[in-house]
C-alpha cells in the first residue's frame, strides 16, 4: 500500500520542489506572526504583557506533541511494512520534535516564574512534557547505539511506540488531575476560551512553526536518503 512512495528517488523528485515553497511560507508566516504577536495582540487582563510568551510557548508544545505522533506513525509503518523511507522520516523527525519540546519547557519555565511564582513544579503536565523530551533523546541515543541501521530502526521504533502512551497523558493531564498548569484554552469542548484578538496571532504562529517543521523535515529526510546511498555505494566499492 505504501509501495508507490517506497522509491526514494521518486520521493526526492516529488518533494524537492516543496523545499523552497516551505521556506518562503515559513519566512512570510513567521514575519506576520511576530508582527501580530508584538503589535496587534493586546496585553492580557490578568497577565499583562507576559502573555506574549504564549505565542512561542503554545506552538512549541503543540509541535512537540505533533512531531511525536508523526514519528510514531512513521516508525510503525517502518516496523510493520518494512518501509525504509518511513524509518528515515521517523529518524529525521526526532531532533525537530526534541527541539520544539525543549523550547516549550524553557519558555514555559520563563512564563511560570512571573505568573505562578516558580520556574518549575512537578505537576502532571510539566512532568509528562519532560518525559516527552527524554523519549526523544532516548530514541536518538538508541538508534545511534547500533552499528547496523536496520536493527537500530527496529529497536528505536519499539521505544517510540511504547512512548506513545505519554501523548494522551500530556494532553489530558490537566483534566484528569489537579495541576498548577491551567486547562486547555484552544482545543477543548465548547470552543476556545481565548479572545479572537489573541487566538489569531497564535494560529498564525502555529502555522509558521508547522511549515518550519515540514521544511526542516524535508531537508533532513533528503540528507538521510543521501547518507543511505553513500552507505550502499561504499559497501559496493568495498566488495568490488
Amino acid at each position: 500500500m505504501f509501495n508507490r512512495f517506497a522509491n526514494p528517488n521518486r520521493f526526492l523528485r516529488l518533494s524537492r520542489p516543496l523545499v523552497p515553497v516551505m521556506a518562503w511560507a515559513t519566512v512570510l508566516l513567521m514575519a506576520a506572526g511576530l508582527y501580530m504577536t508584538f503589535f496587534t495582540a493586546p496585553a492580557d487582563y490578568q497577565q499583562g504583557q507576559s502573555v506574549r510568551i504564549m505565542y512561542v510557548h503554545v506552538p512549541s508544545a503543540w509541535m512537540g506533541l505533533f512531531c511525536y505522533v508523526g514519528m510514531a506513525v512513521a516508525a510503525a509503518v517502518g516496523l510493520i511494512w518494512r518501509h525504509s523511507l518511513a524509518d528515515l522520516v521517523a529518524k529525521a523527525t526526532a531532533p525537530i520534535g526534541a527541539a520544539f519540546t525543549f523550547l516549550s519547557l524553557v519558555t514555559g519555565s520563563l512564563w511560570g516564574k512571573p505568573m505562578w511564582g516558580t520556574y518549575w513544579v512537578w505537576d502532571a503536565r510539566l512532568t509528562s512534557m519532560l518525559v516527552l523530551l527524554f523519549l526523544y533523546l532516548g530514541y536518538m541515543a538508541l538508534q545511534n547505539a547500533f552499528d547496523d541501521p536496520e536493527r537500530g530502526f527496529k529497536a528505536s521504533a519499539i521505544l517510540v511506540l511504547v512512548g506513545v502512551i505519554n501523548v494522551p497523558i500530556i494532553k489530558f493531564s490537566v483534566d484528569w488531575w489537579n495541576t498548577l498548569h491551567q486547562p486547555a484554552s484552544v482545543i477543548k469542548a465548547g470552543g476556545p476560551s481565548i479572545h479572537p484578538s489573541m487566538l489569531w496571532p497564535l494560529l498564525v504562529m502555529s502555522l509558521a512553526f508547522t511549515t518550519y517543521y515540514v521544511w526542516v523535515l524535508l531537508l533532513r529526510v533528503h540528507a538521510e536518503i543521501a547518507a543511505s546511498k553513500i552507505r550502499a555505494l561504499r559497501m559496493r566499492q568495498a566488495s568490488a
Partner: protein
C-alpha cells in the same frame, strides 16, 4: 496470514496491553499525581501537622489581610464548599489576587495552614483588559466566573 499482517496485529495488541497497564498504574498512583488538595479534602481528612502538603483553591473574596510593617499575609482558600485560613510570610506572585486560583505549600497546624510558599494558578481564559471590563459592566462576568470555577479545579474535588 501474511507476515506484515502478523506484525500489524502484534503491534496493535501490544499497544492495547500497554495502554491498559498505563491506565492501571495511573489510577493506582492517582493520590501521588495530584498536585494539590482542596480545602474539602483538608477539612475532611485532617492531615497532621507533620505532613507537608499543598492546598489549592480560590483566594476567598475579601479575605486578604496584609499586616502593616511586615510581609505577613492572611487569607482564606476556598473551593466554594469549604475554606481554610492561611498565613504566609513572603513574596506573592504577580497573579495573586482575590478570586484567583492559588496553591499554597506548607503544614496544617490547629486548623490554620502555615504556608511557606504560595503559587498562583491561572485559568484558561485569555482576553484583553477592555473585553474583561466590558464583560464586568454588562453583568456577564459573574456568569463567566462561575463557568471558570466549574471548569477549573475548584469544585471538582469539592463535589466529590
Amino acid at each position: 496470514m501474511k507476515r506484515k499482517h502478523k506484525r500489524l496485529t502484534f503491534v496493535v495488541i501490544a499497544l492495547l496491553l500497554l495502554a491498559g497497564a498505563a491506565a492501571l498504574v495511573l489510577t493506582a498512583f492517582e493520590e501521588n499525581i495530584v498536585f494539590f488538595h482542596s480545602p474539602t479534602d483538608v477539612v475532611t481528612k485532617h492531615p497532621g501537622p507533620d505532613r507537608r502538603l499543598r492546598l489549592g483553591g480560590l483566594v476567598e473574596e475579601g479575605s486578604v489581610e496584609k499586616e502593616a510593617g511586615s510581609a505577613m499575609v492572611r487569607f482564606r482558600i476556598t473551593d466554594l464548599a469549604n475554606s481554610v485560613p492561611v498565613v504566609y510570610q513572603g513574596i506573592l506572585p504577580d497573579l495573586f489576587r482575590e478570586g484567583q486560583g492559588v496553591v499554597a505549600e506548607g503544614r496544617l497546624r490547629d486548623g490554620v495552614f502555615q504556608a511557606d510558599g504560595v503559587l498562583a494558578k491561572h485559568d484558561e481564559n485569555y482576553m484583553p483588559p477592555e473585553v474583561a471590563d466590558a464583560l464586568k459592566q454588562s453583568g456577564k462576568w459573574d456568569e463567566m466566573s462561575e463557568t471558570m470555577k466549574r471548569q477549573g479545579h475548584v469544585t471538582k474535588d469539592g463535589a466529590k
